[in-house]
Point group: D2
Chain length 444, copies 4
């Protein structure tokens, strides 16, 4: 995505007063253009004025950004007096007419501003990029929340699934798109074009969602391996030199990486749909493939584990486990067979317990678990030494998990999850969790 | 656009009670699906449930439609109690948080329902078609206004100009699109494929706006003739047997027909942008073309004329005119040279006066004038016997008018028009209007 | 295909001497350009000179054509002295070297001329069009045979099946291609766009071969009806108002029309491949379709019948038949049930006999039979009153025949046909033929 | 291009007798399929048999190749007796008929075999690959010359320029094509994707010719830099980190690399056309660009120089030059300013002399000079230390040359070159050559 030029320069820590003044002036200029764009004249001059405003935005120096957001926040909100009157009229008589009027006045003029900015070439890209910048600073500047709410509302409408197209990514795809995969991949880094090429061979599949207004920008993409049986380790899937197998012999599709590409689209979810649509697509192409499962990280496991020393100390079994885990700081602990087996014995039940019982409010503590369980998958299997990369060892001592998508059960699972906060897991995993030495209050 | 099957059958006048009950049941069933689609489960089952709901809609018998709209109206509006509370909170403290909350609650759940329906294949087409049906009956059923407001709001966002693509239509265009032009053309009827082919030859141009979700459906299209000088009559342009001229010799582009294709998109205006974008496109392709003008009907002229007998009777000149106009009921009046000249002398000033001075509230009485003047064009020239088709004679006694688009003046003209309701017209036309026998109060 | 302008004008019968001289001069000029194009300079100036030569060709007046062909014939043949020397060298010592040299010298320079003409835009189209003109006059001008041989040789190489693409034609196809179908259709005339549209509905299929150098010109196209059972009459298939059936319920594909579009490609056969490739394509799309058959005219039947009065007179059965056929001159004979039945009884065996036994040298007398039997089809069934159009009645008294393509038997059938001149026919048809009153010498 | 599997294995030096026998059998099998394909049955079974034959070819082990070529050579040549008879008939009476018959019989049946092989998917690719293999061994096996002559004749017809399309290559091009550029680039090696990306930025252009039957295989490609003035050194053009300049400011297009991609198409020249078509394309896009020149290596210079010690020794100036050149074996000689200047003084005139006067028979001794002069370019300027890569220093002591293409002079230059073997060079270069100490016989 295009980013204002300031992001391409090194950010200086100290801003001189004259620079500050210049930045203010430029932000003011851009805001004046925004007002013009919202005026009558803006309506007819249309795309030309929108283009000019976008250019002004892209020329802003970095220090102008907070000023811009402050002005966007303060000058494009509804008129409080008019809106208050509409509120009173609605409360006095809640009719279709008063409601329509209330809704219209409650919509910040910013939304219309953004709709008009969108008419210029590159408008959508710019707005998505603007929200990405906004989100970076939102916690520090809660007063900008209104801008974010407006962008999110518009994006939710514009990026409706009905407007997205699912496209297969392969070696026939233009380089301008492929380089984005290399850049965006968030789960298992792509080391370069050779690595990418291996992930696009005959026994792999890659799909992405695109929006017509962002033709070279994947919104989200998923990487799939076509295998025999459910994979229990990720390194073999990522191995550049692994032989390419005949996809017609596969019975399983392993989703081993899902990446949201556009930070500016946070909260506009596509992942749920993508997995199911890809599963259908693969089912059509390969009649033998009947199992759809992920091979997923357990990103929060070791952090959680580090937070329960007292719980472990409470039982003999827990203490034995804690003793066994001392070796985990040695980066090579898993290479010694004996040590590894000892750790495995204690770690697997704890991880099963973590995935099934550890909660953040009502939801699973693990972010990846939240995503897949929320989509209607079920926890299928825990895999020992499944990701021995540095990151995999640090986050989950090498453990990975399979979430299985049974298309017939997805809606039921989702409903159970949402209504009762119940985690759907395989019998084997439930059994494993019961071996855990902890006595968590919500352990069943 | 797809239309529910009932539109394809003959509408029966009397509906039997059992049919009525069945229609009610089917509308209820469709509404139940809508509720399911808005539920949690709807979120995850996604497109499948949306598809089912669309199928239910398309199977509705005609008598079910009023019931459906009634239910859509009553069951998907905001909760008045919650919304009233949000109103009070906002009025008590108009902050970003209370505003966001108010806006969210003021948005009817119907909008989210429509967004979810849109995720199914054909969703956009169905919703646009549904609004077309709704608009037919809105005057008789003002209680459905809320549904219309929601659809218009969504369409305004979805059909943002930034998402539209301008496409040239020519003989290389797929037949499935070309047949739509024949069907939709609203200004000068296309009599068949041969007529269409003549309008797509080298000395003609046709452009349309398309939306990615409606790939075979033009939203609006414009027909252009590339000519030497500004055309003063439309029959030569429409003549199937006219020789094709070399477009490189043209100095003028005449927009002789603009058609909005989708009744369901009423109020979502593209015409303004289309004319300007086409003018730019043609300017790029043909460096010699510097004049962009329409050849437009004056649809309201004779109706207006029929309404001012007393004003005419007030002056001698007016009475002479009224006397001359008596022949207008003879369909062949214009074929007699002497009669025609007499009519022309009296009619031209009155038509100039009509275009410049006749008002409907603050705006021009003539609908075509409203459109082009609102877009920043100026009234250029009145053309005698310019459209001698039956319809052209009936509506405007054969008169047509050129509106000229000077790209440099368009924004100024528009502003003057909107702010001061001033009609921008050529000196010649103003002079002609001054010869008119009426003394209208707003005559300047 | 583009044709020189003279074809668009009415051909005048008398050419004045000065016109004749001008035509000669223009032909000479074009030939001079051809010589330049073949020279060294032509090699490097390349496409520019080729383009100039094409323009000269397209500006030729009609009377210049014979002069042009004469010059093309005489001035671009091999040098007889050099070629004779190469002949002698080859005969003296038939080696690779003498053969290569002989082949090179035996190739008329015309072939290289045509290859160079082909480098200009529109070259292929022009050359195909030139051969179409040449073929019209070849019988009267046998001295031009060498030009034809060269063009046929080149086209055989250029239009190799490996370079052709099979494309489905439907309502999404550009109008510029669809209008060619209307124009070219040779078997069952297409009466206009509505007729065409019906032939492209869901229960019909149309496929064509295209060459990359002629993107908007089908080389050959085939029309297919998807039916239940083998069709026994063509009027129901052509009926504009017939209801569209669900293609998924079909078990048979009826090829009811095959048209070669380019007269200039005569002798370069694609039909054989087209039928088989379309059968495969349909087999893939519709798993239920297992029967592939034509519904074909019997164009030579009544002409043949008119030529055998004596053979008929030789037997009592023959005389009875001849008596019955007297009614055939009444255009409405088939509408009277009794008459029709009497004709049917006598006519069917004779037609079966005609198809199986009537020969032109070793091959079937009927041209359509020659085509399909040569492709490996078998004669399946004779259909009574299957084509009651004027043309159908005139040519075959309404009879049509199904040729069936069984993909497994096609190669065997073809071989039997080519080697032994044996006609492969169904038992029923053979039996019918045996009822025929004639005692043809080759009747088995 | 696909290559038979044996090329992917390591070639073993000793072939055991049983392997030899197996290879013979497999070659025989493939040849039997070829005979079948040429038979009547082959005509109708068409693509299926051709596909089978291709598969047999691709399964051949390496040792089968010579046997295959021997059989292709001996069993698919014309029948010498029939051909001799046709020779005699032609000599006796050289008419159109006897010529047509002679040409037909002189064409080896191999050509028809190759045309039929081409009907299978991948046929063209296979045949081009087969010729690449053949060319490797042709010198050692002159008896295979007939096969090569047939393939070259066919390719000359199939790859006619009229069938090629010029395509721009940029970052939007599919990766499957881009990786071919990296692989094929023969002039200035592309070190990887980053290098490639720099060569496709805004101030660079890349174009390739494609044939419809080889959609992902460039036949030839050209790399262009858009510059101010004629470049005098190649390293700045290849520098990955050079800033991208605005192409609108360029006045010159430098062709810095031209690569023929398909060895199997040797002798089928496209380069001439490509340069001129690209020059036209760039002239259209950038109205300011008026100079088209290459920056080319002088590949044969140092080899030539090493071969003339006696000529140098013949004059005092020559001896001084020879003395100066002693340092050339030191790879860093050019880094010392004094040494470099001394070498330059002596080397530049000799190189000018080499380019203008050194001959191989009648043509320039330098292969790159032959190509560009033959295309109508002129020798423009010699550039000192223009290619300081290892290869550039080894082949030409760092010298490079600009050949300029003036579109108006190209045809004249070419003609002068072909007819009189005259080298067209700038005044400056001619003057430089006159300073050379040699007295070559053809020095003017």
């Amino acid at each position: 995505m295009d980013t204002p030029s300031f992001l391409k320069r090194i950010i200086r820590l100290v801003i001189r007063p004259d620079e500050q003044a210049r930045a203010q002036r430029m932000a003011r200029h851009m805001i004046d253009l925004c007002h013009a764009l919202l005026s009558e004249r803006g309506e007819v001059s249309g795309a030309a004025l929108a283009r000019e405003t976008l250019i002004a935005y892209h020329s802003l120096p970095e220090p102008a950004l907070p000023a811009l957001f402050d002005l966007l926040s303060s000058e494009f909100s509804p008129d409080p007096i008019e809106l208050a009157r509409a509120c009173q009229e609605y409360c006095a008589q809640p009719s279709t007419d008063t409601l329509i009027s209330l809704f219209e006045l409650a919509e910040p003029p910013r939304q219309e501003l953004f709709r008009r900015l969108n008419t210029a070439p590159g408008g959508t890209t710019t707005l998505v990029g603007m929200r990405a910048l906004l989100l970076r600073s939102l916690q520090a500047h809660p007063q900008w929340k209104g801008i974010d709410a407006d962008l999110e509302h518009l994006f939710g409408s514009w990026f409706n699934r009905g407007f997205l197209s699912l496209q297969r990514i392969d070696w026939n795809t233009p380089a301008i798109i492929l380089e984005k995969l290399i850049k965006y991949e968030a789960v298992h880094e792509i080391s370069g074009w050779r690595d990418l090429h291996r992930r696009l061979e005959d026994d792999r599949r890659c799909f992405a969602f695109f929006h017509p207004a962002l033709p070279n920008e994947p919104l989200i993409f998923i990487e799939v391996a076509l295998t025999k049986g459910i994979s229990d380790a990720v390194q073999p899937l990522l191995n550049l030199d692994s032989p390419v197998t005949d996809p017609q012999t596969a019975d399983t599709a392993i989703f081993y990486s899902i990446t949201n590409c556009q930070r500016g689209l946070r909260g506009i979810s596509f992942g749920n749909l993508l997995i199911k649509q890809v599963a259908q697509e693969l089912g059509r192409e390969f009649s033998k493939i009947s199992t759809f499962a992920t091979l997923s990280p357990v990103p929060g496991f070791r952090t959680w584990l580090a937070g329960i020393p007292e719980e472990l100390a409470a039982t003999a079994a827990g203490r034995a486990a804690a003793e066994a885990f001392k070796c985990l700081d040695d980066p090579d602990w898993f290479k010694q067979k004996h040590t590894a087996e000892r750790v495995q014995k204690h770690l697997m039940p704890l991880c099963a317990c973590y995935l099934i019982h550890a909660k953040n409010k009502d939801e699973p503590a693990d972010s990846v678990a939240r995503f897949h369980l929320g989509n209607g998958a079920r926890l299928e299997r825990l895999n020992w030494l499944a990701d021995t990369s540095k990151r995999g060892m640090q986050r989950a001592a090498g453990l990975m998990v399979n979430y299985q998508y049974r298309l017939d059960d997805v809606a039921d699972n989702h409903e159970v999850y949402v209504k009762e906060h119940r985690v759907v897991a395989s019998t084997a995993l439930r059994k494993l969790a019961r071996e855990c030495p902890l006595s968590l209050p919500d352990k069943r």
